[in-house]
Point group: none
Chain length 380, copies 2
């Protein structure tokens, strides 16, 4: 459950998870080991990318995912290793070429889509560009060509009254990428000249896919991802999980995909987005209801008879903060081989009393593999 | 207590330690700090060698003990730093020299002892060989000569229908060792020719004693080990503890050795094997009884008035798993200087509530030394 961890609405109150009526998770908790996870480091609020890498057992301080890559993954774009990705903004420049609005008045998404098609038609000396509209003024930029390095500065000056910056290469190896991006920016400015307020673009966070070891190879697992949103599908694809087709966006649709593929894979990552979305919207009751919806689905998952089941999140998203937070994330680890804590409740404060303690999220995968009897002994 | 940690026999039940009637340990727990230890890393099941290194404060991922060394320690052989040790198997080869049985039909231990004497009489150009029978087809091989390196490949092909491999040196420095071992293997084949099914041997896991800092020097302790089984005596000897003579194999015999030597040393490692053996045999009640036997002996140990007393294990060995496991190990730390938890119970789930938390086992020694007032202040 994305952003699972929460905070009480008022001092002395309960968190979203503690408020939710979760009879199935509570019953499972009694047979499980409980704890809390720290996604990246104490006090650090993580984004979804690093938060998921940690869940998958990759140290997110070692494996960095650049902003551009996150943006492209977020729209479910199948990035190739050689692709150079960036986060793009439509913006407004005045007659002197100075930025007057870094977000082009937050143009409607429909207009964004139309202008993105226009930009995507720009041709370059070499390679090609993909422009993938996101919301309002935002898009993902992908340049596909051979030999592109990522050491490029942003073109977004982060303030108004100055011109957008040209892309400059920070090392000699990135000169080719800088040349092609600048060629594109020149053409984009001409193409957008008559589309005020969206008469220019800015790019930032140039990055390529990080070189991350394959999850299936690392753990010897035939792993599948059940997720609806692009970013989570993208992160799963990045670590070489099989991203399953989900025919719809509801939990029901995800469960159907899980059940259908159950015989084919031996590891499933099932992503629930609503808990995070509602937390970020500040909708405490909505997040409670989303957790209760998952609880109601738990018997259906348990009916598949998983050897190991883990319920946790990639970070906390307390409704009172309307944002991701640094608070440790509740963790439930069920298997026939755990030493059950006998705590009949799944909630933040119940998890504090759990036997797993408060652990780095990257410890989850070794514990999961141990409980699946998939690790051999160290030494004699 | 070797393999101390356990698991409930059924969900909701108690572990071996929780089941055992342990009035003395429970009373001591109330005056102690409790916790749990992770021997090597989360989810990792450890062998006894690395598990003991961790207890003694040596990172078992840094100090590796090779298979051959474990085998020689296991028969209480006094390995010298220059000795090259390997695990040996008697095996069967057919008329074409191909391995037909990697274990020589698991010959009786008596025959193994007889053939080991035969092999030990083989003389080499240089140095000498010790053949130390273990059980059935297994023995420890030790080559004592100057200048032997360990970068040698195994001769066990790990399958039948192929010949045993010659030893080859993986680096130039190991050429001498390879030559002497191959000379021995040639002579062994001739000597065993008429002893079908044990008409050949295979060696694997070539290793020398790791270069481990001396326990007495590292901690400024005059340290003694009270253990009956070879491997534990060997590991203690490896870190330069004084391994005491024990006249028998019972706990009573160990206690007599402890009491007799109490005035001479200021650190004792007392090893109880039965808890692990019975856990590995799947004998839940037997392991419970073994723990109760130790509990009954506790007043006798406390009568010696130890400044610090630690009760823990090198790993868990739950009877339900009939094997070592990764589960954290109960830890009790008693001294006059602890902040007592006031928890009147020594058991896995009581330890979860303890003030020490779940900690790497290598943290035990610094805590022990602190509680013995043997550490000086860091900085001013």
């Amino acid at each position: 459950m994305d952003g699972l961890g929460g905070l009480p609405r008022q001092p002395g109150g309960k968190t979203e998870l503690e408020t939710a009526h979760t009879p199935h998770m509570d019953a499972l908790a009694a047979l499980s080991s409980l704890g809390l996870t720290i996604p990246v480091a104490p006090g650090i609020t993580t984004g979804s990318g690093p938060g998921h890498l940690a869940l998958f057992g990759y140290d997110p301080l070692h494996y960095e995912i650049g902003r551009g890559v996150m943006e492209a993954l977020g729209v479910d774009f199948e990035l190739k290793p050689e692709d150079l990705a960036a986060r793009g903004n439509f913006c407004t420049i005045d007659d002197n070429g100075l930025v007057s609005d870094r977000r082009a008045g937050r143009i409607p998404t429909g207009l964004n889509q139309q202008l993105s098609r226009l930009l995507a038609s720009i041709s370059l000396d070499e390679g090609r560009v993909y422009i993938l509209p996101v919301k309002e003024h935002r898009f993902a930029f992908v340049l596909r060509a051979a030999g592109l390095s990522t050491s490029l500065c942003d073109t977004d000056p982060q303030k108004t009254g100055v011109p957008p910056l040209p892309v400059t290469a920070n090392d000699p190896g990135s000169a080719k990428a800088a040349r092609l991006v600048n060629q594109f920016l020149g053409s984009a400015q001409k193409a957008l000249a008559k589309h005020h307020p969206a008469n220019m673009i800015m790019l930032r966070g140039f990055a390529r896919l990080p070189n991350i070891p394959s999850f299936p190879e690392r753990y010897g697992l035939n792993a599948a991802a059940v997720a609806v949103n692009g970013m989570y599908r993208g992160v799963a694809r990045m670590v070489k999980m099989q991203v399953l087709e989900v025919h719809g966006v509801t939990l029901e649709d995800e469960l159907v995909a899980l059940e259908k593929n159950w015989p084919v894979f031996n590891f499933f990552y099932l992503h629930i987005k609503k808990t995070d979305t509602l937390g970020e919207q500040g909708d405490f009751n909505g997040k409670v209801a989303a957790i209760e919806e998952v609880d109601a689905a738990l018997p259906r998952i348990m009916a598949l008879n998983p050897q190991v089941l883990i319920i946790t999140g990639d970070h906390s998203s307390p409704a009172v903060l309307k944002a991701h937070s640094w608070h440790p994330v509740p963790l439930l680890l069920y298997s026939h081989l755990v030493r059950p804590d006998g705590i009949s409740e799944f909630g933040e404060r119940a998890c504090v009393r759990g036997s797993l303690g408060t652990i780095p999220a990257i410890h989850i995968m070794p514990l999961a593999l141990a409980n699946a009897s998939r690790l051999s002994k160290y030494g004699a």
